[in-house]
């Protein structure tokens, strides 16, 4: 599938799903980047009387300890985006590397790599992460992203491997081989461009997945030992009975943000699929 760049841009700009998705993600990204400048307090500072519902003074109310929920929210967004980006990138990269190597080389390398992939695949990520995180005293957001990245790659590896396998046998690759092109050049010039669109979509899914995994880890108490994140906010809220006390403003907004961002990413992914795959476009 060779496209003209202009053709892709044309469809990309028109695709509703893509537009909505990008808009929502951009909205939250904006909040993450610039929100802290609007926040009047640091997330852990004492801001005022606790148990306050949202008001003009405290946009998202205050926690049991009198901390400003809005400040926690925007700083938490930052860490969420960071985890998504770093974790997603690592997972995408490893998945690409393993899947590509496996598919292109074939033979023994393929067998071994796939066996390894299947093993990592079957182990429930969460259980592994729990073990890893439970024994490390100091955990930062970055470390968490690395953990997630190193455990989320198997499905990507398998998918990339099938893509590689199917591309490997396509005519234009064989043609390149017959004309004596060096293997590396074949990979870069012929195969990679066709997979670029796929890689992009994979990254989006990994980004969203990393956010969800991080939120769950944080919630269980295996998140960063310092700082704040959306998952941590929810953990604190539940730990201090926010629900029973009716303090919805503490527990609900973080989840809305995660659902919105991850949902928007899934939307974007479907939209991108339509842009790159002419058959799916609605006439």
């Amino acid at each position: 599938m060779k496209f003209r760049k202009s053709e892709i841009l044309f469809f990309a700009l028109r695709n509703t799903k893509l537009r909505i998705g990008v808009f929502i993600v951009a909205l939250f990204a904006f909040l993450a980047i610039f929100g802290p400048y609007f926040a009047k307090y640091e997330p852990q500072d004492f801001a005022g009387p606790g148990y306050n519902p949202p008001s003009g003074e405290y946009w998202l109310g205050t926690t049991t300890f009198g901390r400003d929920v809005f400040s926690q929210f925007v700083y938490g967004l930052r860490s969420t985006f960071l985890v998504g980006f770093v974790g997603g990138s690592i997972a995408t990269f490893i998945g690409l590397f393993v899947g590509f190597l496996s598919g292109y080389k074939g033979g023994l390398a393929d067998e071994l790599l796939m066996m390894f992939t299947n093993i990592v695949l079957v182990i429930p990520t969460m259980a592994l992460l729990i073990i890893l995180a439970a024994y490390l005293k100091y955990r930062g957001v970055f470390l968490e992203s690395v953990f997630i990245g190193f455990t989320a790659w198997p499905w990507t590896a398998r998918a990339v491997r099938s893509q590689t396998l199917s591309l490997k046998t396509r005519e234009f690759v064989n043609l390149a081989r017959i004309t004596g092109m060096k293997p590396l050049k074949i990979i870069v010039v012929e195969i990679l461009p066709n997979m670029l669109s796929y890689v992009f979509m994979v990254f989006i899914l990994q980004f969203g997945g990393a956010i969800l995994t991080a939120a769950t880890l944080d919630f269980i108490g295996l998140g960063p030992t310092q700082g704040i994140s959306l998952g941590l906010m929810m953990q604190q809220a539940v730990l201090w009975n926010a629900i029973q006390l009716g303090m919805w403003w503490w527990a609900v907004p973080p989840g809305i943000a995660i659902t919105a961002i991850v949902g928007a990413m899934y939307f974007m992914n479907t939209g991108l699929d339509e842009v790159f795959n002419p058959k799916l476009r609605e006439m």
Binding site: N118, I119, T125, I131, K137, L212, G246, T259
Partner: protein
Amino acid sequence: MGKYLRRKIIIYLLTFFFAVTIDWVIPRFMPGDPIRTLLSRAAMRTEAMDLLYNYYNKVFSLDLPLWKQYVNFWFSLFKGDLGTSVYLFPSPVFEVIKRAVPYDILLLVPAILLSWIAGNKFGAFAARKKRLDNTILPIWYVITATPYMWLGILLAWVFGVVLGIFPISGAYSFSMSPSLSWEFIWDYLKHWILPFGSLFIVQLGGWAIGMRNMIIYELESEYSRYMEAMGAPAKLIRKYAFRNAVLPQITGLALQLGVIVAGALATEVVFSYPGIGYLLLQGILNGDYFLIQGCFLFIILGVLIANFFIDIIYVIVDPRVRRGMSGETA
């Protein structure tokens, strides 16, 4: 078929081996003296400390050669001795976990099965009607993007606090004790419905989306087109498409087990539901090494067994695997 199953078993054995190794490696190779670090985290109780110390000495001691520690680790596993819980001293870990398992099974099995079946039916249905598809697809995307614990929080808030219909913590009321009376069962169900609901709803979205995509793919296949050209009614074509589309969904179920386990853990925390997830959390908070370990192994075993079970079902259902045709799909 034999080759397929043999290969799967090898993978599962290797996985178990790998997981257990990791379980030993991580605490062993942490910075600092592993024994001291672990002991310092444990909740203070002298009898517990002694037990812990004895065990740690066998497994993590800096005096013994590495390989011996590793072997000791495996030995104690095979003895079936998962140790004594510190958090719930003096109950043996095995007992503690045994008590929690039924709650997990009663929660997870219906949630997984029902959401899978309902999601597939729903997804197949939507694939037929374009209008319905356009409106409901975004909804599925949203619910599948919802973190399990947040949906739990929402449900707890709406139905538990605001509307006050359902209780939001524990598996049964404090005043009751487990028995087979109608009273207890009713009380249990009331406590069960919200955690079940959050697990069910989030998974439903994922299955529906997957099935919808698979059905569309099958309906566009060449065999569907040929049936159409031969005047086959839409119903027959849909039936074929559904049967073909279900296969990858079965594989998908195996792949999702790890994710669902995570979701169940989080949900149990929200509702203080006494399953393995809740135990795990308590273990972590209390530095109860034995408990964490026991839960971890249990989870791994459970997932592996479930995977194997699904593999067998897949073999029965897909003739390609039976004839040794298909490459790895699961």
